[in-house]
Amino acid sequence: MKLLPKDMYGELENVLGENNISQEPGVLDGYAWQPIFSLTAQKWIPRPAAVALPETTEDVQAIVKICNKYGVKFKAHSTGWAAWGGPSEEGELQIDLRRMNKIIELDEKNKYAVVEPYVCCGQLQAEAMKVGLNCHIIGAGPNTSILASTTSGWGYGGTGLSTGYGGRNPLGVEWVLPDGEVLKLGSPGCNAGWFSGDGPGPGLRGIMRGFSGTQGSLGVFTKCAIKLYPWYGPKEPKVDGVLMDVQTEVPETEKMFWIVAPSFEKFADLAYKIGNAEIAYWFCRSPLNAGIDLFIPRAGDRIFESKALRTMFKAFEHLGVALLSSESKREVEYQEKVLRKITLETGCILLDLTKTPGYGFWWWTMGVRSILTALTFRAGGDFLTSYGSPMEYDNAIKQAEVAMKVKQKFIDEDYFKDDMSDIGWGGIYEGTANWGHCETAAMFDRRDGRAEGRQRYLEESAESTVEHTLGLGLSNLPPGAWKIYGPKLFNYHLWQAKIKKAFDPNSTGDEEWYVPSIDEIQT
């Protein structure tokens, strides 16, 4: 096991106190177990040399400066779910931002909140709802860090039609750069509050992230102002149950519908029309067959063996879920009328969920709190996801179609659970913008040790995005993807590598999930 340089640990201890730094192997392994998106056959990712728990921005700065002094790489994480949260090689310092967990400000009128890294989406949503606001919760669920997904991750979420995309929701940001200096993006840098993230002049948010973030490779984000959106539902809903047993009363101004389209193309038409009509709080694709492995995984094997049942589920493949929500009954009535009209125009079928028993369950867990995605672990204990490039919606849907064919081959080879392949999930974002995403997950049990096949799937899915012109998407996720994609996309990787060098001259920020410094690429 690689330890920190002798004096470095002592310096960190002086900064943080002995209770907030550890190099105990058992403790460190808590950061080396990162099965999500750890795509190699290894179960563990590299163990850090030590883990540090800062409480303040000054602590973070001190840690980063010490890393620079000793030439030790670091990787910071918030909730730390997935391999990109941990080090890519032994001997690095893990920074766990758990102690930085406050909501610093919640501005009701101007619709933003300033948060530290360890505020989870569920916490922020609960506080925001009390004042008639909502935050964007990513598909991974409300247990994720809102700051992390906004500054450093992707930002897909089922409510995107109303709550945008994570990467477009940051306002002011406080950022400890890889050299330990602090950069404040936007208005906080000029002591003008937190409400604006771009400028003065060029938007430096552009180096913080693009459609995806650098996964902690360019330093540590210690505060972020997050744009919030209107919430028209109950401010403090009374919910019983923990997940599958959730029950709640739903106001009549919150109406949820399933709309079933006959084809990929018609589904896209439906999505375009919904966006253009400026209706719905959100609209998201969610094939019915996807629900089997989420809700009754043990029955999944039996169900999918039945040709008759497969046919039935196929009829519900292009299922979209729409939520209408408003403070105004008139508005919901109007929107429902439009939705019904659009359903007819596109040859779809509409099912009114509000009349079903258990409606409260769907509304709360799927529609509002975005909890259900984590159920993807039930079937096999693990899953991966791919495609899902944010695109004009025709292309987004095409990704689901292509994904279905590629994934099927790997289902046939038993690398993934048979779920009828197309479980393409994703919706339209930002109101009338007509772009959205559709990612296709796949379930498996990583304990079977067959990681090689899943790696191959990801490679093949990446190749297919190039072949069919489907953008980058989640296929640019694995480390080193820049080697394949960079040269095809105007050498973006070289620009990023120059940025990396400029802000991280000592290459102290772990670059595995971003790009290395330009010096390393060019040697």
């Binding site: 550890s22 058992g26 808590g30 997940l243 672990f377």
Partner: protein
């Protein structure tokens, strides 16, 4: 295969989602009261969480790290409250987190990594049949003057098992006395074992002495048999959990129906045999004891196998079949009572801080945990926190005395007694 090794698949299933640190996501109502694991909340390293301890276990099994004093401290700084399992099993079918935590305790004892405070408890149990270092001969003194039937000399229908804490803690004396009197006054043919009552052994199991519990279980079984009782009633949540869950999980059957006193009282109220009449104008909140609530859920036997992905959901110990409603029904039956719920309740309740040997070994941590609960109780506007476990009551009272906080602590029987005309 060792107990720990048998759970390797559970450990390997962990996705590191950290849901074990939070109350179930569906229930988060505020920033302040969203967390559910006192250990990781206090000590922050991931290793302290339920999932983190599973990773430690896996790391030890794979020889990546060793079980040493520092790691044993992480394992022991845990009330074994079970909240992590509830949150995990909201999603996952194939991970029994609580089993891993208990197996880790046993492993610590096997390796000789024993806390002196825990050693004290075990020695006290062996010598004096209680965990508190008290004398066995004093165990029955709590019932002095009540003239209760002694089951050592006479058979009864209902055996009342006070438990160690209620037997010896003088501050809680009124509560345990009122409980047994309530049973008697309801017409139950109830008796006690007095100084012959012994520890249920549950705490021994929790601190890693799994074999010791078996001794006490067998002792308990023979006492129950000898008493002739068809029903065993206890006011202690820890004992309740031990009887309902730990014993059957370890193949031990007492052969009688088991009720907590709140269940008993609730049924009396439903049958109209108990009528709280006096007005008790008080705003109260109720604290779900871990061992009565989520951990008090009956052991769901009937499935075995290697692949828990194939285990039907009905065999998951999700905690939702614990005892939550009877105490609430009792509170709601009392005229004038203004009952307000905290945010973290039922199977996702925040622990009082006392369990798992923490009260004994890490009193500052126990106190810190209790304080968080009292803050939560205060946030409801309640004047009093009502609960149904002597360990919760002890640690809350200790913390309130220390901090000077303006909050009363009652057992359910205390407020029930206030409402009964006469006693």
């Amino acid at each position: 295969m060792s107990r720990l090794a048998a759970l390797k698949n559970d450990m390997e299933g962990c996705s590191r989602c950290s849901l074990c640190k939070w109350i179930p996501m569906a229930q988060i109502k505020s920033w302040r009261f969203a967390k559910v694991c006192p250990s990781v909340d206090r000590y922050n390293f991931h290793a302290f969480s339920g999932g983190g301890k599973m990773i430690i276990a896996n790391s030890i099994l794979e020889g990546r790290s060793e079980l040493n004093e520092a790691i044993s401290e992480i394992i022991y700084k845990c009330q074994l409250c079970g909240a992590c399992q509830v949150s995990c099993q909201a999603y996952r079918d194939d991970i029994d987190l609580a089993d891993v935590l208990l197996a880790l305790r046993a492993k610590c004892v096997e390796e000789g990594l024993i806390l002196p405070e825990h050693q004290f408890m075990i020695d006290s149990m062996k010598r004096e049949d209680n965990t508190l270092g008290m004398q066995k001969c004093d165990r029955g003194k709590w019932a002095d003057g009540l003239d209760l039937v002694d089951v050592n000399t006479q058979e009864v229908d209902v055996l009342f098992h006070a438990g160690c804490r209620f037997s010896y803690d003088e501050d809680l004396r009124d509560s345990v006395r009122n409980w047994v009197v309530l049973l008697r006054n309801s017409g139950a043919d109830v008796g006690i074992a007095g100084k012959e009552e012994a520890c249920c052994g549950g705490r021994a199991f929790e601190i890693g002495y799994q074999g010791e519990m078996r001794n006490y279980a067998e002792d308990m079984a023979s006492r129950v048999r000898a008493s002739g009782a068809k029903l065993l009633v206890t006011p202690c949540s820890d004992c309740y959990y031990t009887f309902k869950y730990l014993y059957p999980k370890n193949g031990l059957d007492l052969g009688v129906k088991i009720l907590h006193t709140t269940e008993y009282a609730d049924s009396l109220i439903k049958e109209n045999k108990l009528r709280p009449k006096k007005n008790v104008p008080m705003r109260v909140t109720y604290h779900d004891p871990c061992h009565l609530g989520r951990r008090g859920e009956i052991y769901k036997s009937g499935w075995s196998g290697d692949n828990k992905l194939l285990r039907p959901v009905k065999f998951k110990q999700t905690g939702n079949m614990g005892i939550f409603d009877p105490p609430r029904n009792i509170i709601n039956s009392i005229p004038g009572m203004d009952f307000v719920e905290m945010e973290r309740i039922r199977e996702y309740s925040w622990c009082c801080g006392a369990g798992g040997g923490v009260y004994e070994a890490y009193p500052e941590f126990a106190s810190w945990t209790a304080k968080d609960r009292i803050v939560e109780a205060k946030a409801t506007g309640a004047e009093a926190i009502v609960t149904a476990c002597p360990w919760c009551e002890r640690v809350f009272n200790d913390e309130i005395e220390e901090s000077g906080e303006d909050m009363k602590v009652y057992d359910v029987i205390d407020i029930l007694a206030m409402s009964m005309e006469g006693k």
